[in-house]
């Protein structure tokens, strides 16, 4: 005779004896923890979206730290390298059968360097230095006895009286004829072509071509004769001064 045993469903769901019955994270068995973690993450995401999409309401948020100011390099000054192309004398010894004593090259060089510095200072003050650019001040330091000259006649020297326009110095081509007398330099005739750019527009150039005659005076070398042409973008200048 065979013997068989029959079991109920409940009996099949009971774990067998001796097995561990503590919960672990896996499968259906760990659902409560996973659900809690997922819910927390969702909450964070939703909160972040709310912050991003909600406009600031004045008074509802605290002060923000100021953004650091952008670093702006100071304006670069003009540099001038004056090339002496000719040295001429005013000495007339040859009329009397003599030979001019001449002027030492060191004296000529020193005069050229002095005039070079005067021009560089003028160009920088006239077009670059914020406190003086496009004003009459640099011209008064460059040219002797210019006080009585009407300002409109000084526009070629940069007296445009426009403000808030930064200019960056560019190249300067400069040559000089030095005239000597009795062992000293009597005159320095300079020709130069100076360029600069408006800082906010790389295609806008300020250009000055000039011919000046410098003579030594009390207080240094100053121009006693000038012929200067200044070209600027028309946007730089008010209508009534074009």
């Amino acid at each position: 005779m065979a013997t068989h045993t029959s079991h109920t469903r409940a009996e099949h769901r009971r774990p067998p004896r001796g097995w561990d019955t503590e919960p672990v994270v896996s499968g259906r068995r760990h659902r409560p923890l996973v659900v809690a973690l997922l819910a927390g993450a969702a909450l964070v995401v939703v909160a972040g979206l709310v912050v991003l999409l909600t406009p600031d309401i004045p008074g509802t948020r605290g002060p923000r730290a100021p953004a650091p100011a952008p670093v702006v390099a100071p304006p670069r000054p003009f540099t001038v390298d004056l090339v002496v192309t000719d040295v001429a004398t005013m000495d007339n010894d040859r009329l009397f059968g003599g030979t001019p004593a001449g002027t030492g090259p060191g004296v000529v060089r020193a005069a050229a360097r002095s005039v070079e510095r005067v021009i560089a200072r003028y160009l920088t003050a006239a077009f670059v230095t914020p406190a003086s650019r496009f004003s009459a001040r640099p011209v008064r330091a460059l040219v002797s006895d210019v006080g009585a000259v009407p300002r409109r006649e000084l526009r070629g020297l940069g007296v445009l009286e426009v403000t808030d326009q930064r200019v960056d110095a560019g190249p300067v081509d400069a040559t000089a004829r030095v005239v000597t007398r009795d062992g000293a330099v009597a005159m320095v005739a300079v020709r130069y072509d100076a360029r600069a750019r408006l800082a906010d527009r790389t295609d806008a150039e300020v250009r000055q071509r000039a011919s000046l005659v410098f003579t030594p005076q009390r207080g240094g070398w100053r121009a006693t004769a000038v012929d200067a042409t200044l070209t600027v973008p028309d946007a730089l200048v008010p209508e009534d001064r074009r």
Binding site: A88, F96, A225, T229
Partner: protein, 284 residues
């Protein structure tokens, strides 16, 4: 040129024009004041002494060229007066006063003779004149008659020509080729002064060239003009239109005194008119 090329050229021209319209140009021209508004009279002298032609002190030679240049600074008009070297002034030939007492003595006699105040004098020599005309690149003159004279070295056919250096000196010295002899020579010297002025005016647009010219004048002349004023005077002279410069060549009666040829000048009212401010060509 095909149509496509024409279109490109027109387009470039338009772009260029648009670009050019985006700038403004200003010019400043400042000049030192060279003279006040009154009358300025300068005696321009040529000495026959000076290396290499005749060694010695040029300031004690004979004045073979004597000209008065009167400039009215206010009206910017001028008159050049030629005075023949054989003119009798203060009892002797005018050119001898240079040898006797130098430029100041000659100027003093000219002032007494003309009634004008002579503000400055400028003196050169043969060599100085040659070098000056070379330094400025020559001057253009009108040759009216054939000039072929071995003693002066002239060799010119009639017509307009540029002279410089030796040819300029020959033009200034030749009297044998001219029908009016020494009067013609003096007139030619005045022509050269006017030509120098025209050259000055042509060069005046360039400061550097004017400085070179002032230096050339300084080293080829002796003058009582302060060196620092030379450029200013040159710039001022360059503002005078050549059409506003009169040229008066004085003449007179030719005579012989003690075997020497002299001229009794007949200046008329030339000097009085200048003193009265009537300087320059007659007004139309």
């Amino acid at each position: 040129m095909n149509r496509r090329t024409v279109a490109v050229v027109v387009l470039l021209a338009l772009v260029g024009a648009l670009g050019a319209a985006a700038v403004v140009t200003y010019r400043s021209v400042l000049r030192p004041s060279g003279a006040d508004d009154g009358l300025l009279v300068v005696a321009v002298l040529g000495s026959d002494v000076g290396v290499p032609h005749r060694p010695g002190d040029p300031l004690r030679g004979r004045a073979d060229a004597i000209h008065l240049v009167a400039v009215d600074g206010g009206t910017r008009r001028a008159t050049v007066v030629d005075i023949p070297r054989d003119a009798v002034v203060a009892g002797t030939k005018v050119n001898a006063h240079l040898a006797d007492g130098g430029p100041e003595a000659l100027v003093a006699e000219l002032e007494a003779f003309t009634g004008l105040t002579v503000d400055h004098w400028v003196l050169t020599t043969f060599r100085g004149f040659e070098r000056l005309t070379r330094a400025i690149g020559g001057v253009d003159v009108q040759v009216d008659v054939p000039m072929h004279d071995p003693s002066s070295g002239s060799d010119f056919e009639p017509g307009r020509r540029v002279v410089r250096g030796a040819t300029a000196l020959a033009f200034a010295r030749d009297r044998h080729s001219l029908p009016d002899g020494d009067f013609g020579r003096t007139r030619h010297q005045g022509d050269l002064l006017l030509a120098l002025h025209r050259r000055l005016v042509a060069d005046a647009t360039d400061l550097d060239t004017m400085v070179a010219l002032a230096a050339a004048v300084a080293r080829t002349t002796v003058t009582d003009i302060p060196p620092g004023d030379l450029l200013a005077l040159a710039l001022h002279a360059a503002t005078i239109d050549p059409a506003d410069v009169a040229h008066v060549s004085l003449s007179g009666q030719v005579d012989t005194v003690d075997g020497a040829s002299v001229v009794w000048l007949t200046p008329g009212d030339t000097f009085r008119r200048i003193a009265d401010g009537q300087v320059g060509p007659p007004r139309r």
